[in-house]
Symmetry: C2
Subunit: 256 residues, 2 copies
């Protein structure tokens, strides 16, 4: 096991890419490590121990080491990880060595903001097309890109080698857009519309729903309030807090 394995190192052409299939949870954290590593590189660190990188990324060091070990990692015992090397390694695994082209569909409120978001460009992506179904919006220029009509998607997809589609339309339009994206061969979709998309096997969809995030926070607020719901805590809490907390079984019976 402890053979040093460097599966598909960045530089090496010809070798099999050999992407180990990483645990999904690990994949979701790699980008965070990458961001932290870039920060470290900028502040002149050449090497970093798991503890340091972990805290910069907001995880514990055991988790970090386990995650990195899945990539057949580049750490040196007694020293830590080589920052530059690890950046290359993670960028390679995430497929960021090529700058993927993104098509953004729906240039309303949110779409506008996304079109102008420079975090995409700076972190490995290129917004290659802005699309909308509303003729009134077609032709508008945002950040140097002209909005095109969604019907032009098939041509644009080929011309620009679109790899990822971002849906920022209203919910009722989203499924139709997803179908159109899939039809032109897009297999990765980031969906901001508050609805479930159905797509064929092999297409990946990630969903971001801002209201859902707030609702999850709301739950925790509610819970925190219900726990502190006793003394003179000027809590903005519930207007009518039931006094009785005593009923023994009321709480108990929930889990059954």
């Amino acid at each position: 096991m402890s053979q040093h394995r460097h599966p598909g190192a960045p530089g090496r052409a010809g070798a099999v890419p050999a992407l180990p299939d990483l645990p999904e949870a690990t994949v979701a954290r790699l980008p965070e490590y990458l961001r932290a590593l870039h920060n470290l590189a900028e502040t002149g660190h050449e090497t970093v121990p798991s503890e340091g990188l972990a805290s910069a990324a907001g995880v514990n060091s055991a988790k970090l080491r386990k995650d990195l070990s899945h990539l057949g990692s580049y750490g040196t015992r007694g020293v830590g990880y080589d920052v530059a090397l690890l950046i290359d390694q993670i960028e390679y695994v995430l497929g960021l060595t090529q700058r993927r082209a993104v098509a953004l569909v729906g240039v309303g409120n949110l779409g506008h903001a996304l079109a102008g978001y420079d975090g995409f460009a700076s972190r490995g992506f290129r917004i290659a097309a802005l699309l909308d179904a509303d003729p009134a919006r077609v032709g508008e220029e945002i950040n140097g890109l002209v909005v095109r009509h969604i019907d032009e998607l098939p041509r644009i997809a080929v011309e620009e080698s679109i790899a990822i589609g971002v849906i920022a339309t209203p919910a009722q339009a989203a499924q139709r857009v997803a179908d159109q994206l899939v039809a032109v061969g897009v297999t990765s979709i980031l969906n901001f519309a508050p609805c479930v998309l159905s797509v064929p096997e092999g297409v990946d969809v990630r969903k971001v729903d801002l209201a859902i995030e707030l609702q999850i926070l709301s739950f925790h607020e509610h819970r925190k309030a219900s726990l502190t719901a006793l003394p003179a805590t000027g809590g903005s809490a519930l207007t009518a807090l039931p006094g009785g907390f005593g009923a023994t079984d009321t709480q108990e019976a929930i889990g059954t």
Copy 2:
């Protein structure tokens, strides 16, 4: 143990709030169920079987039933769930019976979009304040709200009973803003800045990072490509569009 227990039903005052501590994974799905239920209610359904609600929410029915059972649910065997009742139940658990006030800090690109996003209002929240540190932005009116200076936060937090803070500033300003929010008693933060926030115990932070989402998709793209990257049929990929999407996975072959 299958006593029917309705812990802290919405309408009933006097009952113990009795928030069961739901598994985190369940909490994260409740908002999705809620959205699906609202759709069902609008289309005239009074009742729905677990199978139906599950598919509307994009999960499988076993998971749905298990999730709902944690709330001491309201299903009827042989029939399904009462839509209206379940909506009340979930809204109660999520703490959506009170319309929580949100302070949005950072009205740049993304902040603007968030300020104008009506999904917040329609799903239980009220944007009560827009704040920014840049004097040039203070005074601007967005969607009927005037942007205030961040230094006014302490007063505004009290006046408006701010329950949740949303950070949409650049990364380097985010920690400072988080500290300010915490200082005025905010215990729930939604962070759009690409950085880790450190906050005291008891404060919940959720993070949304758009570039990270894309990078995760990129990984899967990379992997899909590396799997199909074998035999004679090189990279003709995109140019030859598969006829239609007959659910057969011709799609897979998006070459690099």
